[in-house]
Point group: C2
Chain length 664, copies 2
């Protein structure tokens, strides 16, 4: 990437700043000197061999400004060898995706000259983050100047500094030009077109690009449903019992789209080179703490936390807490139904225009309360999962996702299930569904994008006003130092968790109950379109640039959506069973009807599992490419062994010759 | 292994014969000479570098005797390097299981001296089979003397010879002494004890040992059920409606035992070194044929068969055929019910002792017919799957297993389901289940072990009589040549397929309906005990020794059993719902009862899936061992890279020195 900005490091060599490391403003000098030295040190000596320079004070140096901000970059050679370390896959000259190695660099498609344009900036930043993360303690016993910040040989220094609060944050820098170009092709253009997924991936990495890819896919998948829904809504509005066809369509739809997505996502991930990339050895989380012991895997001394203790915390504290929250959520639901009844009784007593509106009030209040409860619970779940003290980030994420999913599912859908199957009031179900959907959408868009943007804008304006007050700048272009400080102040994007959670709930609304309220699909399509714009906007303008995440699929969310689609099959079968048409087939006996519905439902579930099993997750042509690569690497390994043999033979004879010369 | 027998190859060196290769008796001389040459040729020249010698004519050389039988063996060095090729895992000095390499051979636990006692004979035979299978054509276009037997560069010669009928069979030799010892500790001892699984694995390999391990595990798992079943049977014989408790127990049981088995099997496989062993690159099946084309994976020219054509054969021929067979099976079932009704009407007219017996006759006939139909269908399925022309053995096996499982399931269980849920006649269900179970057991044991043994015995006796007639031998010990010919005449063990199928059906009888007939578990336990003995007997006495199969689990059968356990949950819930006790809870409404049962069933199914998901398939302590190995190999890789760097540096300096000498 061509960057207009560059700085000189202390040895005078110019480098492009890629990543910013911010230390606490009161960090001791000796600790800073030691850290910079370790980052700059040669790899042979256990350093990271990166370039690092302190950020010069801003144009408006106030006393609040943190002086301990450092710009990190690297030479192109270092970045290329780092790309090999992290196992980056790039396009090979034959069009396949292969793991990059410095030895074969010239056979890669876009490798030209020195290779200074070969890696995207996001990749460079990912490499630097990886190199910083794997900068390991040698024989130091603690961080200089901080006797309580103990270090263990072979453990990550950066993680330790983070958990001790010495390191405040690490974040990658935005590229102004690139970002402007991306935002134009993404959300600023007038013409409706597909998202520039490859550009998004280029700038933000695979994890985020997969999220936007899924969002787009999900929207397109909803279109047929929306198209069926509109005439339904227009012509059969009051005829709730015509929903059997729609429910049957729903059944098929929710199974098929998930299977097709799996294959799509594999295609995307193959094209981006993450499909066959290996997971790196996971470092412990920064927040993990424990008592010193021997790691059973590595045999090294490091903090350990007994699994039994963690299990106790999970089953004796977290589980009861979650159950309590679920109870609370159901209790609130009951209050909602009481309010609903109360509003209805007022309306029945004396129906006016105002009581008509009053009928919607309880649903709206309930929808807001649901959102607030979700938000509060989210923080509680994070706190609890943090307290469970998981060693690895993946295990932490799994426990957090499980907690949040269960609660959100119950919180959002319990009232709908209650209305549908206990009260059997399809009219109320439709009204409740519509209110929930619309209210939560409005709230979400507001909370997610516009509120943070507004806060950010205020902060920016203050900064710019301050700069202008000093009359140092005529144009609006800020110098590097101020730019960096501005970005450091931006909110941090916390990952795709909340965005996927929202999609998960929308998928639930559509797949579970859209047969009762066919307009749901239309609403979700509209929401998704605005979601694309607001999400794109928040990524480009509101948040710090996130580090790219080499994801090969949407991970645990695929599983969550599959689970939802199973529930959807059961729900839709039950809704069909409750329809007057189904009842008309078995006029004399409910039992017969239920048995039939149960039989059909079991058949459908079985069919779903068989389909999931039969449809390959990776499309055939990509499978062939993958096995070709595997075959070639096997062949290469054989050849390598032969070459090594040759070298050895040559060496032995060479030594013999040397001896011969030496002796004779 | 110390073998009393050995032969000398044409160069006069003595070797232990391990494997027998039998060519057709009319094979042309030039083809034989070429094949032997390729087998004996050095590995550098693309040969297998094995020792091979023609078997001398038997003591009683008759004209029927095939002269083209060859004994194959190898030097210990060759076997050790072959062990590295096949990726054999052996116990390391630190107790962990590691992939054997010649470079680290001295660090393995049982490696002493030259290593001539390191590999078991089964391992040696497996290695030789692998080396023969991977003996590849070079630039020959066809087998010498057979212009129609085309060869393609890089393709297996042996597979080609097999598919052209030139190579009749390859089989490993028994070890008389070892076998005698094994059979004593296995089935000839009086005292009841566990099977010598490690010895079985030592002699027959992991695949067969896992089968016997599962058989033993399954038997033990049935014991609690049998213990509950006996008092049930003794005291509540006529009280069919007491089966709710039993059905509930069944529900839990069939889920738990499969989960526990997965962990057991992982422990066994880890101890045997097959858990983390990689699957070898699969060669095409011997029977596979196609039109010459370019393999999309390897890019080499070889016979290909279009997938679309195979799919057509599967969906247009195999599938309709299977459906037809299923229809036929149901038709036969209906005939059985008519016979049943006829027998009952005769009994009701004039009940005597003979009509009492007559009542059982239809069930017995039906059981025999079921077995016969299973057998015929088995052959048809094999023929069809062969005709589908699958390229890989694994794909062939999957299609065969699927076909056979579906038919066997319907054929065996359809009548029981019909009686239970359509006729709702628990009395008849019990009688039918008992008859089916007992009859099929008796038939199976007879067909599997005693019939082949009896045929084998007759053949052996003839042979010995002929030998004795010539008065060449006083004692009964046969010389090598006769021994080999005797073994070549033995039946071939066709793999564990039929044995697992039988266990699958037994598992079905117990898990589906044992609540109606609690004695089923007892019968199955008894059957399993005799099964161990008869299977052990047939392996040791009736069949040729099979090649060992480095399996790490019971493969597709685990899946089949899981599917059966899901069906068992549904069935048991339905049986509970039909019980008078359950009906007593909801005296006024069947609908309520059914809804409750359905809800409970869905909850149980969900629980089962969550449990399957939560319980790790590999026990914790083995996971730790595996990740330690992975960690160590990563570390070793790093060190290796450093060492290579050193060597290169050294070489460069060395060359410089040489040049220095040469120039000066």
């Amino acid at each position: 990437p061509q960057l207009s900005l560059s700085v000189r490091d202390s040895y005078g060599s110019k480098f492009t700043p890629l990543v910013v490391v911010e230390l606490a403003s009161d960090t001791k000098e000796e600790a800073i000197a030691w850290l910079l030295d370790r980052i700059r040190d040669k790899q042979q000596n256990g350093g990271a061999e990166l370039l690092v320079e302190q950020l010069s004070p801003g144009v408006v140096a106030s006393e609040k400004e943190n002086p301990n901000m450092f710009l990190v970059g690297a030479s192109w050679q270092r970045l290329l060898s780092g790309a090999e370390d992290v196992g980056l896959f790039k396009e090979f000259s034959d069009g396949s995706m292969r793991g990059f190695t410095c030895a074969t660099k010239n056979s890669f498609k876009d490798f030209k000259g020195e290779g200074d344009d070969f890696l995207s900036m996001a990749e460079c930043q990912y490499i630097i983050k990886h190199e910083l993360d794997t900068l390991r303690a040698k024989d130091e016993t603690h961080v200089p100047g901080y006797t309580h910040a103990k270090l263990y040989p072979g453990k990550s220094i950066v993680r330790r500094l983070q958990s001790k609060g010495i390191l405040v944050q690490i974040f990658p820098l935005h590229e102004k030009e690139e970002l402007k170009r991306l935002s134009f092709s993404w959300y600023k253009k007038i013409k409706l077109s597909l998202q520039p997924l490859d550009d998004i991936r280029h700038y933000y990495g695979e994890g985020l690009a997969l999220y936007f890819g899924f969002l787009e896919y999900f929207t397109f998948a909803l279109v047929p449903m929306a198209l069926i829904g509109v005439p339904y809504y227009l012509f059969d509005w009051e005829d709730y019992d015509k929903y059997v066809v729609f429910a049957a369509f729903n059944l098929v739809w929710c199974t098929v789209i998930l299977e097709v997505w799996k294959r799509n996502s594999a295609s995307l991930a193959y094209g981006w080179g993450t499909l066959s990339r290996k997971k790196a050895f996971e470092e412990p989380r920064p927040g993990f703490h424990g008592v010193l012991g021997f790691n059973p895997v590595t045999g090294r001394e490091e903090p350990l936390y007994p699994n039994a203790k963690r299990q106790l915390r999970i089953y004796l504290v977290s589980l009861p807490f979650v159950l309590l929250c679920l109870y609370l959520s159901l209790y609130v639901m009951m209050i909602y139904f009481q309010m609903e009844g109360w509003a209805l009784s007022i309306h029945d007593e004396n129906p006016t225009f105002w009581t008509d509106i009053l009928l919607f009030i309880p649903s709206i209040i309930y929808a807001v309360v649901i959102e607030v409860m979700n938000l509060i619970y989210r923080y509680a779940a994070e706190f609890l999962t943090e307290w469970e003290n998981h060693r690895l980030e993946s295990s932490y994420q799994n426990h957090l996702v499980l907690k949040v999913l269960v609660f959100n599912f119950v919180n959002c859908f319990a009232s709908l299930f209650y209305i549908a199957f206990v009260m059997q009031d399809m009219m109320l179900l439709r009204q409740s569904l519509a209110t929930l959907l619309i209210t939560s959408q409005i709230l979400n868009q507001f909370m997610e994008a516009f509120l943070p943007y507004w806060l950010q804008r205020r902060r920016n304006k203050k900064m710019i006003r301050r700069v202008q007050k000093r009359k140092l700048l005529e144009d609006k272009e800020l110098p590097l130092a101020n730019q960096v400080r501005l970005e450091a102040d931006m909110s941090t994007y916390l990952g795709t968790f909340d965005d996927y959670l929202e999609l998960f709930l929308l998928f639930g609304y559509v797949s579970l109950f859209s047969c009762v309220y066919p307009l749901a699909a239309v609403l979700v399509v509209l929401n998704n379109i605005t979601e694309v714009y607001s999400d794109a906007f928040k990524m480009c303008r509101v948040f710090k640039r996130p580090f790219s995440d080499p994801a090969s699929n949407i991970g645990v969310w695929q599983l969550a959506l599959e689970a939802m689609s199973v529930i959807a099959i059961v729900t839709n079968c039950a809704l069909i069973g409750m329809s007057p048409q189904a009842k008309a087939y078995f006029p004399e006996s409910d039992t017969q009807l239920i048995l039939w519905i149960a039989a059909v439902e079991h058949g459908l579930l079985a069919l779903k599992f068989i389909l999931t099993f039969l449809i390959p997750d990776v499309p055939k042509h990509i499978q062939i490419k993958l096995s070709r690569l595997e075959f070639e690497s096997l062949e290469a390994l054989k050849k390598k062994a032969e070459v090594l043999q040759c070298i050895c033979n040559f060496m032995v004879s060479n030594i013999a010759v040397t001896f011969h010369y030496a002796v004779s």
